[in-house]
C-alpha cells in the first residue's frame, strides 16, 4: 500500500489537532479533515479555553495528568514564542475559590500549572463568601485564533479540508483507508454511542480590559476568564439540554453572579451571549474499532467525549489518537500472511 488515505471527521479542536499530529507521526499519508462546521461555528469556539482540567470518572488519573501535561507543555511553548498572538495562547494568573474547604485541597494538576499555592488570608479578603482558595498561573487557548492556526499548519503539510455533513462513517469507505472520528456529540449518530450527551454551557463575552486575572468558583458554575480581546463570563452546566439559543434570564444570572465576585464588571460593555454543548462522557473515548460490513472493513480511531476538558486535554489525547492511527496504518501496510493449509 502506498499512501494511506486518512479522513478526520470533525473540525473542532480535536479534529484539527489530531490531523496535525497525524501529519507529523505517520509517514506517507494523506489527511483530509471533513466537517459540517468550521471555526468560528464549532463548540471549541465558544469555550473559554482555560487550562483547568475537569476529572473524568472513567479515566485513570495518571492518564489524565499525562494528557494535561502534554497539552500544557505544548501550549506553554507557543505562549512564549512569537506565535502566541496568532495562535491565541496566553498566560493568565488568578484564583480558584471555594465556599467550603474542598476534599482535595491540592488537585492532580497542581504541579503542571505554574506557581500553584494556597491563597493567603489577605488574598481571600477580596472574596468574603469564600473560605479557601488556590492561586496559580495557567494558560488560555482561544478557539477563534487557535483553530485557524491549526488549519494553517495542516494545510502547510499538505492536508486538505472539506465541508460536508457525514451521516454514516461508511460513506468514507471508498475514498479513505482509515477514519478518525472527532465528531463530538455527532458520535451519538455516527458511532451509535449513547454514553455521550450534551452539557449545555451559556457564556457571555464582554469588554472589560481592566480584568487581568481569572476567578473561578470551585463549583465550576461561576467563572471570569480574561482573554486577548474579551472576558468570558460563565456559566451553566445543563445536562441533556440541546438548546443552542441563548436564554436572557440565564444571561442576567451569569452577569449577576460574576459581578458579585468582581464588582468592577458592572462597567463591562458590548455583552455577547454564546452557547456551546459540551460533548460529555464518563471518560474520553480514545480507541480503535474495526468496522465490518459483509466483506468490507473500515478501521476507525475514535477520539471524542472530552466534556468540559477539551482544550485542556486536546494535545495529549491527539498524540495518543495519532499513535493509534499509526498502528492502523502499520497494520494496513503489513501484508497479511496467507494461512498455511
Amino acid at each position: 500500500m502506498g499512501t494511506v488515505r486518512i479522513a478526520t471527521v470533525g473540525a473542532g479542536v480535536m479534529g484539527l489537532s489530531t490531523a496535525v499530529c497525524i501529519s507529523k507521526l505517520v509517514p506517507r499519508c494523506s489527511i483530509t479533515v471533513i466537517s459540517e462546521q468550521f471555526t468560528p461555528e464549532t463548540t471549541s469556539d465558544v469555550a473559554a479555553g482555560m487550562l483547568i482540567p475537569p476529572v473524568y470518572p472513567d479515566t485513570p488519573i495518571h492518564k489524565q495528568k499525562q494528557w494535561f501535561k502534554e497539552t500544557f507543555d505544548h501550549l506553554f511553548a507557543i505562549a512564549n514564542s512569537a506565535e502566541a498572538e496568532d495562535a491565541g495562547v496566553l498566560l493568565v494568573s488568578g484564583w480558584q475559590i471555594f465556599r467550603s474547604i474542598p476534599t482535595e485541597e491540592v488537585p492532580f494538576w497542581a504541579d503542571v500549572v505554574l506557581g500553584f499555592r494556597k491563597m493567603t488570608e489577605d488574598e481571600l479578603k477580596k472574596f468574603p463568601q469564600h473560605v479557601f482558595g488556590q492561586a496559580f498561573t495557567t494558560l488560555k487557548c482561544e478557539g477563534p485564533a487557535y483553530l485557524p492556526w491549526l488549519e494553517k499548519r495542516l494545510k502547510g503539510s499538505g492536508g486538505l479540508i472539506l465541508t460536508r455533513r457525514i451521516e454514516d462513517l461508511w460513506e468514507l469507505h471508498q475514498s479513505f483507508d482509515i477514519v478518525v472520528n472527532c465528531s463530538g456529540l455527532g458520535s451519538r449518530q455516527l458511532a451509535g454511542d449513547l454514553k455521550i450527551f450534551p452539557v449545555r454551557g451559556q457564556v457571555l463575552k464582554v469588554q472589560a480590559p481592566w480584568v487581568k486575572h481569572f476567578i473561578r468558583d470551585g463549583s465550576g458554575l461561576t467563572y471570569i476568564y480574561p482573554g486577548i480581546s474579551n472576558v468570558t463570563l460563565g456559566g451553566t452546566r445543563q445536562k441533556g439540554d440541546w438548546n443552542l439559543s441563548p436564554d436572557a434570564e440565564i444571561s442576567k444570572g451569569i452577569l449577576s453572579r460574576c459581578c458579585a465576585l468582581e464588582p468592577s464588571l458592572h462597567g463591562a460593555c458590548d455583552i455577547r451571549e454564546k452557547v456551546g454543548l459540551r460533548p460529555s462522557r464518563p471518560g474520553v473515548r480514545l480507541e480503535k474499532e474495526l468496522l465490518a460490513q459483509g466483506s468490507r472493513r473500515l478501521p476507525v480511531v475514535h477520539h471524542y467525549g472530552h466534556g468540559s476538558g477539551g482544550i485542556a486535554m486536546h494535545w495529549g489525547t491527539a498524540l495518543e489518537a495519532a499513535r493509534l492511527v499509526s498502528e492502523c496504518a502499520q497494520a494496513l501496510r503489513t501484508p497479511v500472511p496467507k494461512s498455511k493449509l
Binding site: 512569537a82 498572538e85 505554574l114 506557581g115 488574598e123 498561573t137 480590559p209 481592566w210 487581568k212
Partner: protein, 347 residues
C-alpha cells in the same frame, strides 16, 4: 481658609482632594484652588505606567515606607467597588527578574501573595536566574487624574491654568496655605540642588494578551534602566530609560531602540505588537521626598507653604500617604490659628 495647590499631577490633585475631604465640613469656609501650568494629559503623571511598586531598597526616610503602605491599602480598599476601573485602578500580577539572588524587598508583605519564582517560571526568562511573583495594583495616571479632577470639580474646587512665578505672588493674592506640588519643576519656585529630572521614555503598544507585568533589574545599571513591561487598562507600557539630568522633552530614537530591543528580547510575543504612542516624562528625583512646612513672610502676614515634591519614580506608589501627611500638617496649622469649628476632644 484659602488653600492654593500648585501643580495638577497626581501629587497636586490627590493632596487637594485629601484636604477637602478632611476639612470642608469642619471649617467655617474652605476654599481650595489648583493652579497649574500643565493639566492632564500633559503632566508627568500621564506618562507613568502606574504600577504600584516602591524601589527595592529601604528609603532613607522611613516615613516613605509607611506612606507607600498607606497608599496601597487605600487603593486596595477601592478594589471591590464598581468604580475601580473609572479610577484607572485594577489588580495586576507579575514578575520581578534578577540575574542573581537578592534579599526580599521591604514591601513584600504589603503586596499580595509575594513568593519566589519557581524554576519553570524562570525558564520563560533565559537571561534571568532569580525572581519574585506577586499581585500588586495598576493605577493608570491619566485615568486617575481624570477621576480626581471629577471628584474635585464636584466639590467646587476651582482649577486655574496659570504659570506661578513665585510663592509671594500667590500669597499676596489668594492664599493662607500654599501646597507646593510642582514636582520636577519645583526648582523654579525655590532652588533645590537635591532635585533633578530622571528622564524616562516609554512606548505604549497594543498587546492585549499580556496580562502580567515583567520588570527586570540590573543592579549595575540602576533602577528603571533595565527593560520593563507593564500592562495598563488598554495598552501595554514598555520602558527601561532613566537619565539623570536630561531635560530633553522629545522622544529619542536611540532610547526607542533600547526599549524596543530590550522588551522584545524579554518577551518575544511583542515583536508584532502595534505601537500606539510614545512619550517622554521627567521623574522628580530627590534623595527623599520633600514634605515639610515652611513659613513665608509676605508683607505683614505669614503664609504657610507645605512642600510636597520629589517623589521620583514612585509618585503614584506613595501619593496618598503623602496627601494624608500634608492634611495632617494643615490640621496643625488650623489648630494654631484656632480655625477648627469642633475641637477634636469633643468627638
Amino acid at each position: 481658609m484659602r488653600v492654593v495647590v500648585i501643580g495638577a499631577g497626581v501629587i497636586g490633585l490627590s493632596t487637594a482632594l485629601c484636604i477637602h475631604e478632611r476639612y470642608h465640613s469642619v471649617l467655617q469656609s474652605l476654599d481650595v484652588k489648583v493652579y497649574a501650568e500643565r493639566f492632564t494629559p500633559l503632566t508627568n503623571t500621564d506618562v507613568a505606567a502606574g504600577l504600584w511598586q516602591p524601589y527595592l531598597s529601604k528609603p532613607s526616610n522611613p516615613q516613605e515606607a509607611r506612606w507607600n503602605q498607606q497608599t496601597f491599602n487605600y487603593l486596595l480598599s477601592h478594589i471591590g467597588s464598581p468604580n475601580a476601573a473609572d479610577m484607572g485602578l485594577a489588580p495586576v500580577s507579575g514578575y520581578n527578574l534578577f540575574r542573581e539572588a537578592v534579599p526580599d524587598p521591604y514591601w513584600k508583605d504589603v503586596v499580595l501573595g509575594f513568593r519566589k519564582l519557581t524554576p519553570r517560571e524562570l525558564d520563560m526568562f533565559p537571561d534571568y536566574s532569580y525572581g519574585w511573583f506577586n499581585t500588586s495594583l495598576i493605577l493608570e495616571g491619566r485615568k486617575y487624574l481624570q477621576w480626581l479632577t471629577e471628584r474635585l470639580t464636584e466639590r467646587g474646587v476651582k482649577f486655574l491654568l496659570r504659570k506661578v512665578e513665585s510663592f509671594e505672588e500667590v500669597a499676596r493674592g489668594d492664599a493662607d496655605v500654599i501646597i507646593n506640588c510642582t514636582g520636577v519643576w519645583a526648582g523654579a519656585l525655590q532652588p533645590d540642588p537635591l532635585l533633578q529630572p530622571g528622564r524616562g521614555q516609554i512606548i505604549k503598544v497594543d498587546a492585549p494578551w499580556m496580562k502580567h507585568f515583567i520588570i527586570t533589574h540590573d543592579p549595575e545599571r540602576g533602577i528603571y534602566k533595565s527593560p520593563y513591561i507593564i500592562p495598563g487598562i488598554q495598552a501595554v507600557t514598555l520602558g527601561g530609560i532613566f537619565q539623570l539630568g536630561n531635560w530633553s522633552e522629545t522622544n529619542n530614537i536611540q532610547d526607542h531602540n533600547t526599549i524596543w530591543e530590550g522588551c522584545c528580547r524579554l518577551e518575544p510575543t511583542l515583536k508584532d505588537a502595534k505601537i500606539v504612542s510614545e512619550c517622554t516624562g521627567f521623574r522628580p528625583v530627590r534623595p527623599q521626598v520633600r514634605l515639610e512646612r515652611e513659613q513665608l513672610h509676605v508683607g505683614s502676614s505669614n503664609t504657610e507653604v507645605i512642600h510636597n515634591y520629589g517623589h521620583g519614580g514612585y509618585g503614584l506608589t506613595i501619593h496618598w500617604g503623602c496627601a494624608l501627611e500634608v492634611a495632617k500638617i494643615c490640621g496643625k496649622i488650623l489648630e494654631e490659628r484656632n480655625l477648627l469649628r469642633m475641637p477634636t476632644s469633643h468627638l
